[in-house]
Amino acid sequence: MNRWEHFEHGADIGVRGYGASIAEAFEQAALALTAVITDLASVQPLERVEVHCEAPDDELLLAEWLNALVYEMATRRMLFARYAVRLEGTRLAGEAWGEPVDAARHHPAVEVKGATYTMLRVAREGGGWLAQTVVDV
């Protein structure tokens, strides 16, 4: 079962992840980010990229994490299929596994410009955590 989903925002699109921990919800939100661009199943986790970021609170940290991935996708011209997140206070250490963009195979629908603070939310939900925001495409 997917533990991520998209939600609607007029011109753009929202990404939402659920998890037992904040870190897991962040990983799932990142999968939703990839799925904005392409079919997740089409991306192979061949290369590993490390990401580090920091922000004063969980919500800004979610935006930072997604923006760090947008940056890595843009500068490395890669797409990612798998993520791992470790959180220590206000710092995040993340890993992303993916491969170079292949237009013929990935049919990337759209380029994500950045994660916004619109509907930005990191909160307890049910027994776990939810992490969501809208991304500008």
Binding site: E8, I13, P56, H107, A109, V110, T116, Y117, V137
Partner: protein, 476 residues
């Protein structure tokens, strides 16, 4: 939205009077039908903007306003630094200086239709579009700095265009007071391979035919006549602008709290104009404007190369180039005096009226051209700035159609290949690297641009001059 939220001050003017934290009223310019269709979020966002420090006169929303980030898309707001006014990264948007450029071709419909498919093919090969595409130009550190300071003027110096082009670009192709040093290394790195690329989403390049002329006198001044073929480019500052938007959004979210500015929505992140973060953002944002102007200039050069090979008789001079995501320092008349204001236009086009000194001399009597891009496969419009627009909304008009439905809903409703063949049946050739992208941008996924333009005209924001319809569309 329910109409009873507003005081109706005219057929096309809907006012939200000052209340609560609002420092000024909010005004939406639109027809009754457009207001009814607008998201309630436009109301909330226009009200939130009206509460920001130093806002002057009113928080405005254009006829194409829709739910944006902090500011509505289609939002206009001016701030006075002498009154604690702010600058907002969200008030400009991620795609800084996204805009529309229009070129004349001197060609006829027959010239294009004779070679429509091969011409579309050659353009799609020459114009890098879509995610992961790179341009042929690589900028080293010195050239990056020169580009960020020089804009389209830099591009022309490097041989990508003619000096006459610069006269037909806002700021004469070069935004002053840009500070490349305030642009992060990350933003520069993101741009390194992206000069002369179109991007994706709603960005496109179209060959269009003038199908209606509404104001013959202004059209003549603009060099437009029924049946003329023009070329429009819609794109922005690429990765560099997106990265600057991202970085300053965070810095301003933190800075606002430090300056005691209460934000009902974090996306309204802003900093006083007279603060370190505010000044650095302005320097970086202006550099991003130059990046967008240089990018559209390089794309113009690539287009001219294709036409030189395929239609050697064509000359492609600029009609005009406008940006619709900016913050610019302008002088405006307010309450009988002239004030220097920081005018944010997010998804709104500057629309200087006749006689304004910043309008190029040959066009000055007619007013500034206002280029309104439609969505893929639909009409676009050329309007002209009016004298009245100064008092209505600091000389601003709409910028496009705005989405009528989400990307998901569009994907559920249409398939890319079907959209391409439907448009082909109407004589329009679409080229795109992504069929899913085409489906998400299906013409019916957008509002009717004609209704938006009619409302802008009726409200007096800008005057309708000509309608153009596409023959070829290169889609990002």
């Amino acid at each position: 939205m329910e109409l009873n939220l507003f005081e109706k001050h005219g057929e096309f003017e809907w006012v939200i009077p000052r209340q609560g934290a609002m420092r000024v009223p909010a005004v939406i310019y639109a027809s009754e039908a457009l207001v009814r269709d607008m998201d309630r979020k436009v109301y909330e966002q226009a009200v939130n903007v009206a509460a920001l420090p130093g806002i002057v006169k009113a928080s405005y929303a254009m006829p194409d306003a829709h739910w944006g980030y902090g500011f509505p898309i289609g939002g206009v707001a001016a701030f006075d630094p002498e009154e604690g006014g702010v600058v907002s990264a969200g008030g400009v948007g991620f795609d800084i200086s996204c805009g529309v450029r229009c070129l004349h071709t001197g060609l006829s419909r027959e010239d294009i239709m004779k070679i429509q498919a091969p011409l579309a093919h050659e353009l799609s090969r020459a114009i890098p579009a879509g995610l992961g595409s790179t341009g042929a130009i690589r900028l080293d550190e010195d050239e990056m700095e020169a580009m960020l300071a020089g804009g389209a003027a830099w591009a022309v110096q490097r041989g990508w265009g003619e000096s006459a082009d610069l006269e037909r670009i806002e700021e004469r192709g070069q935004m002053k007071h840009a500070k490349p040093g305030d642009v992060s290394l990350q933003a520069k790195k993101r741009q390194r391979d992206e000069m002369g690329t179109l991007g994706s989403g709603n960005h496109y390049l179209e060959i269009q035919e003038v199908t209606s002329v509404f104001d013959a006198k202004i059209a003549a001044a603009y060099g437009l006549a029924q049946g003329d073929i023009v070329l429009m480019i819609h794109c922005g500052s690429r990765g560099l602008g997106h990265q600057i938007g991202t970085e300053y959004l965070k810095r301003m979210a933190i800075a606002a709290a430090q300056h005691g500015i209460h934000l009902p929505d974090r996306e309204l992140a802003c900093a006083p104009i007279n603060s370190e973060v505010g000044q650095e953002y302005l320097g970086a944002m202006r550099a991003a404007i130059n990046c967008a102007l240089a990018n559209r200039q390089i794309l113009t050069h690539l287009v001219r190369d294709v036409f030189r090979r395929m239609l050697p008789q064509a000359r492609l001079p600029l009609l005009y180039d406008v940006s619709h995501n900016t913050c610019k320092v302008e002088e405006h008349r307010v309450d009988g005096g002239t004030r220097k204001l920081y005018v944010h236009r997010k998804g709104a086009t500057r629309a200087f009226g006749p006689g304004h000194p910043d309008v190029p001399a040959p066009l000055r009597d007619a007013g500034q051209p206002v280029l309104i891009g439609g969505s893929m496969g639909t009409a676009s419009y050329v309007l002209a700035g009016t004298k009245a627009s100064e008092a209505l909304a600091f000389s601003s008009a709409c910028h496009g159609a705005g989405r009528a439905m989400s990307r998901h809903q569009a994907l559920r409703n249409w398939q890319g290949r079907q959209v391409v063949s439907d448009l082909a049946a109407r004589g329009i050739v679409i080229k795109s690297p992504s069929m899913r992208g085409v489906a998400e941008e299906a013409p019916q996924a957008y509002k009717d641009v004609s209704a938006v333009v009619d409302a802008a005209d009726a409200a007096g924001l800008a005057r309708k001059v000509a309608r153009v319809e596409p023959l070829v569309c290169i889609k990002g």
